[in-house]
Symmetry: C2
Subunit: 456 residues, 2 copies
Amino acid sequence: MISDAIAALQTLLGDRLNQSTSDRNLHGQSESHFTTTPPDAVAYPTSTDEVRAIVEICHQHNCPMIGWGTGTSLEGHTLAVRGGVTVDFSRMAAVLEVSPQDMTVRIQPGVTREALNEELRATGLFFPVDPGANASLGGMAATRASGTTAVRYGTMRDNVLGLEVVMADGAVVRTGTEARKTASGYDLTGLFVGSEGTLGLITELTLRLQGQPEAISAGVCSFDTINQAVAAVIDTIQMGLPMARIEFIDAATVAAVNQYSDAGLPELPHLLVEFHGSEAGVAEQSETFGLIVAEHDAHDFKWATQAEDRSALWKMRHTAYYAVLACHPGAGAMVTDICVPISKLANAVEQTSAEINQSGIAGPIMGHVGDGNFHAILMIDPDKPDDLKTAKNLSERMVTRALEMGGTATGEHGIGIGKLDYMAREHGHGWTLMSNIKRALDPQDIMNPGKLLRQN
Amino acid sequence: MISDAIAALQTLLGDRLNQSTSDRNLHGQSESHFTTTPPDAVAYPTSTDEVRAIVEICHQHNCPMIGWGTGTSLEGHTLAVRGGVTVDFSRMAAVLEVSPQDMTVRIQPGVTREALNEELRATGLFFPVDPGANASLGGMAATRASGTTAVRYGTMRDNVLGLEVVMADGAVVRTGTEARKTASGYDLTGLFVGSEGTLGLITELTLRLQGQPEAISAGVCSFDTINQAVAAVIDTIQMGLPMARIEFIDAATVAAVNQYSDAGLPELPHLLVEFHGSEAGVAEQSETFGLIVAEHDAHDFKWATQAEDRSALWKMRHTAYYAVLACHPGAGAMVTDICVPISKLANAVEQTSAEINQSGIAGPIMGHVGDGNFHAILMIDPDKPDDLKTAKNLSERMVTRALEMGGTATGEHGIGIGKLDYMAREHGHGWTLMSNIKRALDPQDIMNPGKLLRQN
């Protein structure tokens, strides 16, 4: 019984167990279109030992547990669909140990991406994964986050060396090592990364760091067609140019950005690119990139060589979501993402764009095109009851197309509850294997139940 | 009963089921010090459907199955420790589809690394993972192989996008997608990569390819001490220089290489390095590397700018193992590998070297130092009964030291039966989780039983 668990947790945690309506509602919200679904209580542990004690109590009383970082996930990962206790890691946010020689850092799960990089600034190192939101690293690991820099530095899959995880029965497991690779046994680290809190609660992470690049150059250019922009990206990849970021924004996104921040860009499909390396290296790469996009009839090519110009460029990209929202006052948004093989990307974007244009709702498109990953921000007017249904249909057609093209239902936002319906279609018997693994590690189904899997 | 399975398999496969002593012995050998342990029969399937039929028969009759690529693993992965049927994939060796735009390839598991790169030559693409041996890609995935280029391109963990796997009950699962990343569900691909055939038989792989670099430069230099060589490597990593390979060989290895191939190198610790990139890029990187090693008092620095010089350099590295064997005629070898955090590498190599020198047996050291991974080739004279014991003791001390340093019992050779004794020590409760996963996916323990896990 959940109530028995809560009584015992209150004794354990005192006022670090919060049952107020406001705090429960705060932890029942999402940054997407889902209905608020609050937990029965919110726990604020301060140590792994305390997390273990919380889990042991919940295990004894069959009470669901949901990990919480910053609440920025987009597919309802943290909604308390079966009630229970949300475990908020905001008080476990210490950087435990930086190892500059090994280029690793050991942290608690509540550390946010920006806080980590602030802490690392003086070391000459940085943590590269950047999903846009200032998410917690625990949450980023749990959802296998990626973002603009994944094309160069990989996703959380590639940047988590090891984890400490409290399992559903309270057992504490350490996965991985501090070495850069291992051939010792099943890749448990990789199994937990992206498991969306359904296998255990992450209480510590060892992350791989990168050296801050000596030089950075960034640029922006526009194209008449989506196809030209994407063809330029494919050529750049095939030339082996090591792009640190390569972002696509469509004409509708540019229009919103112009309106929001007076950017004055031509309302055409754009590419934003960034190179990291030595002075001579980024100069050469920029030049080569300039030649490639020129072959695809790019317009208005501009390099941002100064730090402030670059930062304006990426601020524009990162605020594009808010620019789009600002252009539709009062509207909500369903933010959906798919990922397809690069060769299918132009088709996928063009067909999606055409369908959105015919649908009657707005849906600017932007994406991490170097990975074949793009997003549509499907705008929902709360006064128009059909908009949500239209958005869901559009999202379903995007996913169907991605799967037909050999891609995936989600490149980076994950499954949560939002994409459960596509799991059987994408994975076939593999989804059953996932269920079998879950049952082996969490037979009671108390770790973030109802997400990623349907156990009953 | 195994015999019932074999009778049924004979009906299924005809003369593609081989029970001859010679073929069984061939498949019961290893390239290491283990006793020949043959299976009861060897099956040669030609399709996934046939593999499924084999597995269904073995499942029905509780008969162990062992996947076989080229038999080059070093920890006894393919020994039939509980008898059963070895499934030899040499007749499933087709390159199914190259997708140049996506930079991916779909292959059958029996394709070898060299055959794949030969097939890719005209496309401008290559598959980068290079463990030295001309292993099959199925075997390389099953053992999470890496090698000299992992420092730049990653291991099999990073280069397998998707798999087709026949599970212990005959179910066929497809994992991953053709897209470059996914956030959809548990990382089943990552779970199978490195599972050493204990969860299923890999019948197809989708691999990520790389563009052939425009320019390559390679170089070699020597140092007075191991410490200086390793310190130079650490500085190079921290400068962010993108080394494609960085290999260490100790003075004893150099002596063997000199004797074997008249290389005429100074008998000192050496680094071998390679850069991939644009002409200007590799020139700049080579120059920077030259400055770094000069600061660590490197001697005899030589660049191999011509293809034939480079190829001589890497041939020397890849034949170092045979050079060492040739210097000890009639001796066997225990080849062991560990991986430690980079900051601990110099200590780990020096302490290992000192222990080997005191042990009375020879044991040249070489390694992929950019990853913190190194090997000792511990020479065993069959006429000296204590040598094997001495080698085992040395290997155990290497592993103990690696674990104390925050590293792993094996960077790339895997567990097999050779390193089972260290699993509990390295993984603690994590090893139990691995067992639970195995039990969930192969409850009969018929998939390569006795490797990586002790199920009973």
